[in-house]
């Protein structure tokens, strides 16, 4: 089976953009809710855990070159647990795609559309994603390469102008309540790095899979940088206390931006428009992982038929939560599932020496 190969820089960008595509807009809020103004430390800790996760996936993948996670799971954990884990993974990424879709649909509906039905926004996104996913991972990787230089300068300029308004003194005092808030913040601080989960599937598709770890760590570093700047900026502008009340703090952050001479107003519309690119990519990646993984579980040669099977599933899962609170619950559930999954793989990778995997 001829597979599309992707370059390591593409993996870096995919990891970064998938992570920020899903959780960025709400990130400062829920990190601050858990960790207060020390959330940036939690983000650092979360990134460290994510680094550990990257190491785990990379070292497991090294044992099974050219195999994706659903292919090596049975060998790694035994047949029944492996199958169970496969189903779990697929369900996880289906929900991840659904959450990405729903979350961004909600944001768009709130800020851009008043009367346009949510369904329309979501189906439009989803069909576009299906169009991209059908082309395979290579196209997604290239899209990441196209979108990255569009999004990052925009983000950078925003943050640059924001610096004049940020009062970094709001970050003080550091750790006045000890380590406890920081520790509480590790869960949200870690789950915002979820994007690297795609490594499980994509590592074997790398042109040079020995680069997997470095590439993914690069992606996490980019993500971390973006998160840190944003979080400290948000605390600096709103203060931790105010921040905890905001549902979409990044949007509010951009709204708070005072551009010199007020060239444009309501910059958040601009931000959201540009952010459609990132969110779209994150959605498409999760969508792809599910289709690709499912096709491998079923032993199909081509994954593209799966796209049409997965599409309604993602849509249903996305439309199911009745209100904003349930969407947040879905996000927490995903986070929990992701933490459990990472724990499993990190432990298993740690035990690789003691308990070598059966050759598949």
């Amino acid at each position: 089976m001829v597979q599309d190969r992707i370059a390591s820089i593409q993996l870096t960008l995919l990891v970064a953009m998938t992570a920020i595509g899903t959780h960025y807009l709400a990130m400062p809020g829920f990190v601050a809710r858990a960790a207060g103004r020390d959330g940036w430390l939690s983000l650092l800790a979360g990134a460290a855990v994510a680094g550990l996760g990257v190491w785990a996936v990379a070292s497991i993948s090294r044992r099974f070159p050219d195999k994706t996670v659903v292919q090596y799971n049975p060998a790694l954990f035994g047949r029944i647990p492996g199958v169970f884990l496969n189903i779990w993974l697929l369900a996880h990424f289906t929900l991840a795609a659904a959450f990405g879709l729903r979350f961004f649909g909600d944001v768009l509906k709130l800020f851009l559309f008043d009367r346009t039905p949510l369904e329309v926004i979501m189906i439009a996104m989803l069909l576009t994603a299906a169009y991209a996913v059908r082309h395979g991972v290579n196209v997604l990787a290239r899209l990441a390469e196209v979108f990255f230089p569009v999004v990052i300068p925009f983000w950078g300029i925003t943050m640059f102008f924001l610096q004049m308004q940020v009062d970094y003194a709001n970050l003080l005092p550091v750790m006045d309540q000890g380590l406890k808030p920081v520790a509480r913040g590790i869960f949200p601080g870690y789950m915002v790095f979820q994007g690297y989960g795609l490594m499980l599937f994509i590592t074997p598709l790398l042109q040079d899979s020995s680069q997997a770890m470095r590439a993914a760590l690069g992606g996490i570093a980019i993500t971390l940088f973006i998160y840190l700047v944003t979080f400290t900026g948000a605390v600096g502008i709103f203060g931790a206390q105010h921040l905890t009340l905001l549902i979409y703090p990044v949007v509010d952050l951009v709204r708070a931006l005072t551009l010199p001479e007020m060239i444009i107003e309501r910059q958040e519309i601009l931000l959201l428009s540009v952010w459609i690119l990132v969110s779209f990519l994150a959605l498409a990646v999760a969508f792809y992982l599910v289709s690709f993984g499912a096709s491998q579980v079923l032993g199909l040669k081509e994954f593209s038929p799966m796209v049409y099977l997965v599409l309604p599933l993602v849509y249903l899962a996305a439309i199911l939560p009745p209100n904003a609170a349930q969407v947040i619950a879905l996000s927490r559930m995903l986070g929990g599932s992701f933490v459990l999954l990472s724990a499993i793989y990190i432990l298993r990778a740690g035990l690789l020496g003691l308990w070598p995997a059966r050759r598949a």
């Binding site: 169009y131 290239r142 444009i264 309501r266």
Partner: protein
């Protein structure tokens, strides 16, 4: 102009000889030794063609019957007279006097070819079908009684356009010679710029009936052999009655038919073609058109002009950035305008929003329809301007653009802001050097406008995403269309959006996988 000749190589890509199969009366495939019979067959094949001339005469002291067959108008009469008829009828006597007794019917042809025919380029042809093709291409067939084959003398020479400055690709600085309609002249123009012996110009014929001469040019040792093989393979799959222009071939060779984007580049400029060859691309030249095809073509190429390399790099870089920016303006401005005005007026600065609102007071059409209509009529004016004779075309522009536009605004049928946006878009789309790419952008404007009218900025972004998905998925001859931007090839970026200083452009584009990657020694190596 003796270099104008049909390529010597047998047609490698056309195993089955074109033509002939459909005729009811199957002529014998080869010539006989009998002149009269040969002539009869030829006359039969070329019957009712008033422009085919059969001239029979006798050769030498033994009055060996001979004949020449040619097409009037395609041959250089002077050359025919001097190098063939005069030589055979008058100067042969001198040869004979020198003691060569070679006018035995069996050996006559070989002898004549060696000693009498003074034309530069001759070849033997035994195949009747071939012979007819040669005659119809402007060669002269020379037949002698007793020889089982004919001598094909290259006497091609017809009235043709001189070398003029390329009309569609003018530059301020750079060579002023453009390709013309004769493929041989064109290959010569390329050859003049590239004297590398490894510049290969493969010939072939395309078109079952038109039998058009084509040439595939590439530089061996530079070009990726797989690319040449693929070009050959695709060309070989063309089985059509007639080829008129490189545009015909382009559409049959391209990877994606549904794409609005051109996947091969065409040029009238020999310098551009030569530069492309040097990069490791393949050029396809076709007789009858001054446009050479360059394959593969990537997106960024359409924003480049050969002039970029002739001018200093700062200016060239600025112009490139300008073109890229203009192309975005041309594609997205109307859509963004519609989205902002009818969905997100909050994004506009307050004074602007108010002045647009004031100017739109009482307008009959919603903004999307207004913009669509304006864009549509702009295209109408543009098309009218191109199709009409040049003198009238300008009038159309003035009437269409100025008078109607002005009147429409005065009559409060359209808002001035829309007119400005449409006019800006139009001007911006003219900045793109490649006409076919400019058209692609103009086409994309309409769906984008539509999307903006339905979903506002979200629609525009979805459109942007879809266009990008299509572009990154598009491959042309195995090269990613967005190369070298995507996948990232940072080494090539100094000649992408900007054009780096000449000394820094040391490598050929990686995306083409050239065999010889380095095109310039580094400063240090060159002893600067």
């Amino acid at each position: 102009m003796s270099s104008r000749r049909v390529p010597k190589k047998p047609l490698p890509l056309r195993p089955a000889d074109p033509g002939g199969q459909t005729k009811k009366e199957e002529p014998p495939p080869v010539l006989t030794r009998d002149l009269a019979r040969n002539l009869e067959i030829l006359k039969q094949a070329l019957a009712e063609s008033s422009d085919v001339v059969f001239r029979e005469f006798a050769v030498g002291s033994r009055y060996l019957p001979a004949a020449v067959v040619f097409v009037d108008g395609l041959v250089d009469k002077q050359m025919l007279d001097r190098d063939l008829l005069e030589a055979l009828m008058l100067e042969l006597a001198l040869v004979e006097r020198a003691g060569a007794g070679c006018l035995e019917p069996e050996a006559a042809m070989a002898c004549l070819k060696q000693r009498a025919v003074t034309a530069g380029e001759v070849r033997e042809s035994r195949d009747l079908e071939d012979l007819i093709t040669f005659i119809l291409s402007g060669d002269t067939a020379f037949l002698v009684q007793g020889a089982g084959y004919a001598l094909v003398v290259n006497t091609r020479g017809w009235k043709m356009r001189g070398l003029e400055e390329p009309v569609n690709e003018p530059t301020i600085r750079g060579p002023k010679e453009g390709f013309s309609e004769t493929v041989r002249v064109n290959t010569a123009l390329v050859r003049r710029l590239v004297r590398d012996p490894r510049l290969k110009i493969e010939g072939m014929r395309l078109g079952r009936r038109s039998r058009t001469d084509c040439a595939v040019a590439f530089i061996e040792g530079v070009v990726n052999p797989d690319l040449v093989a693929e070009v050959r393979r695709r060309l070989a799959t063309i089985d059509i009655d007639f080829i008129m222009e490189t545009g015909d071939i382009e559409q049959m060779l391209e990877d994606s038919v549904l794409s609005p984007f051109p996947q091969m580049q065409h040029t009238e400029r020999p310098d551009k073609a030569a530069a492309a060859l040097m990069e490791g691309r393949v050029a396809i030249l076709v007789d009858g058109t001054p446009f050479a095809l360059l394959a593969p073509a990537t997106f960024s190429q359409f924003f480049q002009s050969p002039e970029d390399y002739y001018q200093r790099w700062e200016l060239a870089s600025f112009l490139r950035l300008l073109r890229v920016f203009a192309s975005y303006v041309a594609t997205f401005t109307p859509a963004i305008y519609v989205a902002l005005v009818s969905y997100h007026p909050g994004l506009l600065p307050t004074p602007l929003a108010l002045s647009i609102a004031a100017s739109r007071e009482g307008m009959p059409l919603p903004i999307m329809l207004e913009a669509l209509a304006m864009e549509f009529f702009f295209e109408v004016f543009r098309e009218a301007g191109t199709r009409l004779p040049r003198a009238v075309g300008q009038t159309v522009g003035i009437v269409g653009g100025l008078i109607i536009g002005q009147a429409a605004v005065m009559a409060r049928l359209v808002s001035p802001a829309t007119v400005i946006v449409v006019a800006l878009t139009a001007m911006a789309s003219f900045v793109i050097p490649a006409y076919d790419m400019a058209i692609a952008f103009r086409l994309l404007r309409f769906p984008l406008l539509f999307a903006a009218g339905i979903l506002g900025l979200f629609g525009v972004m979805l459109g942007f995403i879809i266009i990008n998905i299509h572009m990154v998925a598009l491959n042309t001859f195995g090269t990613v269309y967005l190369s070298t931007f995507v996948p990232y090839q940072p080494r090539a970026w100094k000649d992408l959006l900007i054009r780096g200083p000449a000394r820094t452009l040391r490598h050929r584009p990686e995306m083409l996988h050239p065999q010889d990657e380095v095109r310039q020694a580094s400063r240090k190596e060159s002893g600067w």
